[in-house]
Symmetry: C2
Subunit: 433 residues, 2 copies
């Protein structure tokens, strides 16, 4: 595979051999992207950094810069169009440029977004989320997902007076030093020192951690299901969730559900509800406002006093536009058929891809929930086949990430899925040859 | 004064006696604000949290919720209009709802804001900032100001392999645990452990810190001038800046300029240029995109490799709209007269307020740069007079913060300043009586 997530393109591997063969064709197809990237490399570390780094995709087969998007389609700076299954890293849930969201949001943008004090929509959105999300009593709006996960773990630490955070190996909770994959000893020694990891769904390992750190555990933070980078997705076992809740309860530790990535794609009551879990704090973001920048931390009544004693602040955190977008996104999700519709489209994609893969002689397997699928091949532990498949799909105008889970949006149509499956038929044939 | 910045209204003091007398009038003037706040208190910790908490202003004299804004004017949910000198905590530099910024930004919003990959404007903005800001060679775009200051100190730590961050007492660098005013022992012991403070401009104290922590110092982080909460602003002495640079150089520590609050209000080359300083990293935000959410970390060539080895990422960080707004804001600043115009308006306000104050028998003093003024009274160490003055100004339709520095924007006019001074004449008379 092309190295750790987040490597700059200077450090990326050569990619699969097909990429090399297709180089001159790729240079022409992505001529404008490449020209911008060459300029970028002079003034931006890595040119494009983080999860959007070209090295995290398959170099030569994907664009570097996008120009615009509509519904389920994205268009790059060279005019290439793709059916998109990344959805702005999960942020698009009712489609790019959906007027039902953009019209009210942009009307407020003209009237004032960032004001000295909040707009009343903040109250309306807090009331709505508290009414909607199972078991939650209050809401605090922040900006990045990392703001919400960091605040949640900090509130747990402050409330318990304890230090240790328990998380699952390979889980992503943001890019702050406490949970980042940056490997610099100065952080490992300090901010990452009190974070302990166990293998997801491993009840015995979690019990061992709780025994080992008795009376020092502030919280367990988990995503609603496990979506590690570069690996198949795993759903939680009922025994696992019951164990987390039993251990947290007996130890006085808090159970935090980091629902930023799945957000409302599994249930309008929150993904914990879908899996029968009962966390004390929940983080949401990404699809919450269909890509407008907004995250939220929700919590139970017992934590409200500790939360209100925190200095929770950011200049952009109470801006009105993303909150108006969030209200409209919730309305639009309902109008477009909600989670049932997402699952229906996801099932069509899953069954089609697995069946076409089998027909071509591959053990293609879609893991995870229907609305948030990810493809791996059983015979492909290093993801070379994934890379080749996603490159072949990109060549055919379908944007599927080889190393990150995919997303279905309510702007996807049966025709999009059918067109995707037709492209997959060609891609599998190319892989087989 | 009304307690530490960020206290929830439940913990705020009663405010000055005038506030009590005016209570029923205030209840009527802010009827809708109060009704929203009562709803908010049920579902949001503190109702309104952080720097936007009503307790940080003067309860009863300021609105809690705003509806819209235009140019230099803000309008609350009860229809009260104010000439605004907070400018969205400094974010508005060419005025609320400025079409020269909003038209191109919102046109892109309809075409796509958050995409899977960056929009080419990211390259253009990086090139422009590197060309504009003195001594800087690269740019990394993030979202919150705190993202930028945390990244800067982290890069300094990673590059030097050293832990200690030196900052000025009372300086604000964000709300992350390492620099927050949250006083919870679990953070003080861990994330705040390696941050050391000295009194701003105190050369001997800084030299002592460097002697004490030899070979352990990663960086010094400073705002371009000192703007502590609740105190007069202080400009740096030339000796102080020279000492910072000499000590950092001899110790191999980095000098970080946190220019988020002042940003382009002092110089289009960056505030460090205004004061003759030579930092290796600079953070910018707030006015950078006239309120659209965007921050940036700029740095010198020598740090580019370390920066590119970091996993720098956030779902919303490469969104196109705020970057297009930043390009337009820079254009608009030039068109409207830039920093010279801001200083000219600031001088009118400063001279007028100090003179009217003196005439009424007060030692009113405006401290700080002309474009970012703050009023204190020599005879008023507890800021009760500040609170009464700002309350009296708010009663007269002028929004001046009693505890936070003010901002002039290019949407302010001579007529606004004249109207403000007329209100101040009345406010000083009220204070005297």
């Amino acid at each position: 595979m092309s190295g750790e997530m987040g490597n700059g393109p200077g450090e990326q591997s050569e990619g699969p051999s097909k990429a090399k063969q297709g180089q001159s064709r790729a240079e022409k197809r992505f001529e404008t992207s490449i020209a911008y990237f060459e300029r970028a490399a002079k003034v931006i570390p890595g040119g494009i950094y983080g999860s959007k780094s070209p090295g995290f995709l398959v170099p030569g087969h994907f664009p570097y810069y996008l120009s615009h998007a509509k519904g389920s389609r994205i268009v790059d700076v060279d005019g290439n169009e793709f059916i998109d299954y990344l959805c702005g890293y999960g942020s698009q849930i009712v489609g790019y440029g959906n007027p039902a969201v953009d019209e009210p949001a942009l009307a407020q943008a003209r009237k004032g977004d960032l004001l000295n004090q909040p707009h009343p929509v903040m109250v309306e959105l807090a009331e709505r989320l508290v009414g909607l999300v199972d078991g939650m009593d209050w809401a605090v709006f922040v900006k990045n997902g990392t703001d919400a996960t960091t605040l949640a773990t900090s509130i747990a630490r402050a409330d318990t007076g304890k230090q240790i955070i328990i998380a699952a190996e390979g889980a992503y909770h943001g890019a702050a030093n406490w949970c980042s994959t940056n490997v610099f000893p100065v952080f490992t020694q300090a901010e990452q020192r009190d974070v302990r990891y166990f293998p997801y769904n491993d009840v015995a390992a979690l019990e061992a951690l709780f025994r080992q750190h008795r009376e020092k555990i502030a919280c367990v933070i988990l995503t609603p299901y496990h979506h590690p980078t570069y690996k198949p997705q795993q759903l939680p076992t009922p025994e696992f969730i019951a164990t987390v809740e039993r251990l947290c309860h007996s130890e006085g530790a808090y159970f935090i559900m980091d629902d930023i990535r799945a957000n409302f794609r599994l249930s309008m009551k929150g993904s914990h509800s879908f899996f029968g879990a009962h966390p004390e704090m929940i983080t949401m973001g990404k699809a919450l406002a269909n890509g407008y920048p907004l995250s939220v931390l929700l919590g139970t009544e017992g934590l409200k006093k500790t939360a209100s004693s925190f200095f929770i602040t950011g200049t952009y955190w109470m801006s009105a536009v993303p909150m108006i977008a969030a209200m409209a996104t919730l309305d639009e999700m309902e109008r477009l058929g909600g989670t049932e519709r997402l699952a229906q489209l996801g099932r069509m994609l899953k069954e089609g891809l697995e069946s076409l893969g089998r027909e071509a002689g591959f053990s293609a397997r879609i893991s995870g929930p229907l609305a948030i699928p990810y493809l791996t091949f059983d015979e492909d532990p290093d993801l070379f086949l994934n890379q080749r498949f996603c490159a072949a799909m990109a060549d055919r105008g379908v944007f599927m990430h080889p190393h990150h889970n995919w997303f279905i949006s309510l702007a996807h149509t049966e025709e999009d899925i059918a067109q995707t499956l037709e492209a997959a038929r060609g891609a599998f044939a190319e892989l087989r040859d």
